[in-house]
Amino acid sequence: MNYDLECKNLVKSFDQFKAVDHVSFAIPKGSFFSILGPSGCGKTTLLRMIAGFYEPNQGDILIKGKSVLNTPPNKRPVNLVFQHLALFPMMTVAENIAYGLRRRKIGKAEIKQTVTDALQRIGLPDAGPKQIDQLSGGQKQRIAIARCMVLKPDVLLLDEPLGALDLKLREHMKVELKQLQSQFDTTFVYITHDQSEALVMSDQVAVMNQGKFEQVGTPQELYYAPNSAFVAGFVGESNRWQGKAVSADNQSITMETISGLHIHAGIPLESDISTISRFSVGQDVVTYVRPESISLKRITPDISGNNSPTQTGENILQAKVKDLLFDGAKSRALMTTSSGETITVSLPQTGEFSNLKNGDELMLSWRADAVKIFHDSAL
C-alpha cells in the first residue's frame, strides 16, 4: 500500500504542554481524511507541522514515502487552505490563483490557461478580474481551494475552512468540497470540530483528544462502534450514564446509576474474551445510548415497566415526557424516568407520536447491544 501522507510518532510540545502526543497515521492516496476534535486538542498544531510551519519535537512526516522534515513550507508538496482562507486582498482573483504558479517560473501563457481552466472547474469562469471583497463566502472558499489545486499538491490540508460560513452555506459546501475532492482526485486532510462535517465528507476520520488519536476509522465505525468513552460522547448525540457494574455474565453487563437505574449493556460478539474480564462487578463504568436506538411505545394496561430483562438483552423503562424539542426530521423528546434521570429519545417520523404532549407516559426500550459501555476514567 502506498500512502500519500504518513506521520510517525509525531510529538510537539510548547514548553510543558504536549500539543501533539505520539500521533501516527497513514493516509492512502486520493482519500478524504478528517481529524475531528474539540478546540485545543492539537489538531491545528498537527496540521501546521504537516504544512511545515512548526517543527515536530519527535517523529517523522512522509509524503509519498519521502521525509519532508527538512523541507521548508514553500518547498513542500502540500498546500494549506487557511481557516479564514487568507486570500490576498491586494490581488485579483486570477492573480491569487496564479500566485503559486508564478513562483514556479511558468510561462505567462501557460499560467493564464491554467487559471482559466481552474476557474472553469470551480464554476466561476468570469471571476478572474474581480477583487476578493466582491466575492461571497462560498466563492472565496472555492477560490482558496483552486489557488492550492493549480499547484497539484500531493496533499491538500484544510483548516476548518467552513467555520466562518453560515449554516445553510456550510451544508452546501460540505457536499461541494466532497465533489471537488473527487474531481481533483487529491488527498484531502480536513480538520474540524464539527462532527457532522467530518462524518458527511470523510472516507476516514480520526478523533483527536488531548494531543492523541482516540480512534481512526470510517464514519460508520466511529458512530456505531466507538472504542472509547470520548469517541462515543463526541461523535453524534448520546445519552450518557455513569455508575457501577453490578453484575456481569457472558452476554451482558448490568450497570446501576446513582439514582438506581439499571442499564444492561451487551458485549459485542466480535470482541475478544478479554472484554468480559475487563469489567468486573463494582467497577466505575459509563454507558452511552444513542437517542435513535431507543424505541417508544405508548403504555397499554398489560405492560408495566421496571427495567427487568424480560427478553434477553433488552432494556425496558417507563418514562414521562418532560419536553418536546421539535426540529423537523431530527425532533427529539426529553423523558424523565421515575428515578429522575433524563433520557433523550428521537421521535420516529412516522407520525405515530405527532400528538405527544408533555406529561405523557411512554415505554422506552432499547437493545443491550445498542449500549456502549466503557470504564469510567476521570472524564
Binding site: 504544512a51 511545515g52 510551519f53 521548508p72 513550507p73 514553500n74 518547498k75 498546500n79 494549506l80 487557511f82 481557516q83 479564514h84 487568507a86 490576498f88 486582498p89 491586494m90 490581488m91 500566485y99 503559486g100 513562483r103 514556479r104 489557488r147 492550492c148 499547484l151
Partner: protein, 289 residues
C-alpha cells in the same frame, strides 16, 4: 426645530477651533507671506508689485542650487529612513509578541522625549574633533591625530535619518500590525520565497503606511533647520538656512518670503510626484492611518 438647532450649535462649536487655527495660523500668514513675496523695494519705504524676488532666485545659482541640493538630500534621507525603519517595524509588528513588542516600540519612542536640540548636541559630543569617537580611535591607535567627523553631508544625513526614524516606524508598525499573519504564511505555503512574499504581499499591504511615513519624513527633513545647521555647519547649504539668512541677517523679508513659497511649492510637487509614482492617493494614505 430644537433638535436641528442644537445639532447646528454643536457643529459650530466643533468647527470653531479648527476654523480659527486654519484661518489665523495657516491662511492669513500665507496670504501675507505671498503679498510680501511679490513686492519689490524700489526706494526706501516705496514698494511695487513684481516678481523680482522670484527672478532673483532663478538668477542666482547659489539659491536654486541650495534648494535642489536640499530637496535631493531630503529624498535620500527619506529613502534611507524607510530602508532602516522597515525591518525594524516588521520586527516589532510581526515577529515580536506581547511584552517585548511594546518594550521595543517604547525604546523607539524614548529618544523623542528629549528635545531635538539636545539630541543633536548628543551627536556633536560624539562626532566633534575632540569628541568621543575621535578620542576612542586615537586611543585604539587606528588614527594618529584627531579627526573631525562633523560638518559634512554624511553627518547631516545621519542626523536627519536619526531624527526621522520614529515618524517612519509608527505608521509602518500600524499598517504591518493589521496584516494578517496567515496571508504571509499562505504566501510561503504556495511556494513564495522571503523576497517574493515581501514584494507581493507585505509591501503592497504596507504601501499606505510607507507613503504616509515618507510624506511626513520628507516634509520634516526638507523643513528641518536645526540638524543641518548644527551638524553641517556653515557649509551645510540647507534651504531653510538660506531663508533664515534672508529674514534675520539680511533683513530682506521679501526675498525670504519668496523662498518660503518656493520651498512650499517644491515640497508639494515632490509629494504629488511620489503619490503618482506609487499609485496612491493622499486620501487613501491618510485615511488608513
Amino acid at each position: 426645530m430644537m433638535k436641528s438647532d442644537s445639532k447646528r450649535l454643536s457643529l459650530i462649536l466643533l468647527l470653531t477651533p479648527f476654523v480659527l487655527w486654519l484661518g489665523l495660523l495657516v491662511i492669513i500668514p500665507h496670504i501675507d507671506m505671498f503679498l510680501l513675496s511679490i513686492r519689490e523695494r524700489i526706494a526706501p519705504r516705496t514698494y511695487e508689485t513684481s516678481f523680482a524676488n522670484y527672478a532673483e532666485f532663478f538668477g542666482e545659482p547659489l539659491y536654486w542650487n541650495t534648494l535642489a541640493r536640499t530637496a535631493l538630500m531630503s529624498i535620500l534621507a527619506t529613502v534611507l529612513t524607510l530602508f532602516i525603519a522597515f525591518p525594524v517595524a516588521y520586527y516589532i509588528a510581526k515577529i515580536l509578541r506581547g511584552k517585548s513588542k511594546s518594550i521595543l516600540f517604547l525604546l523607539c519612542l524614548l529618544p523623542f522625549w528629549v528635545s531635538e536640540l539636545v539630541r543633536t548636541f548628543g551627536w556633536m559630543i560624539l562626532l566633534r574633533e575632540t569628541g568621543i569617537i575621535s578620542n576612542f580611535l586615537q586611543w585604539a591607535g587606528l588614527i594618529s591625530g584627531p579627526i573631525e567627523l562633523l560638518y559634512n553631508d554624511i553627518t547631516v544625513i545621519v542626523g536627519l535619518v536619526y531624527t526621522s526614524m520614529l515618524f517612519m516606524v509608527v505608521p509602518l508598525v500600524s499598517t504591518l500590525d493589521s496584516l494578517d499573519d496567515s496571508l504571509i504564511e499562505a504566501g510561503y505555503d504556495l511556494g513564495g520565497s522571503a523576497f517574493s512574499v515581501t514584494r507581493e504581499i507585505v509591501i503592497p499591504h504596507a504601501m499606505s503606511g510607507i507613503i504616509s511615513g515618507c510624506i511626513v519624513v520628507f516634509m520634516l527633513t526638507l523643513g528641518n533647520y536645526l540638524t543641518p545647521i548644527l551638524l553641517g555647519g556653515k557649509s551645510s547649504m540647507w534651504f531653510t538656512g538660506q531663508i533664515y539668512t534672508q529674514f534675520i541677517t539680511r533683513f530682506n523679508w521679501e526675498l525670504g518670503a519668496a523662498f518660503g513659497f518656493l520651498l512650499l511649492f517644491v515640497s508639494s510637487a515632490i509629494v504629488w510626484l511620489g503619490l503618482k509614482l506609487s499609485g496612491q492617493t493622499l486620501a487613501s494614505t491618510v485615511a488608513k492611518n
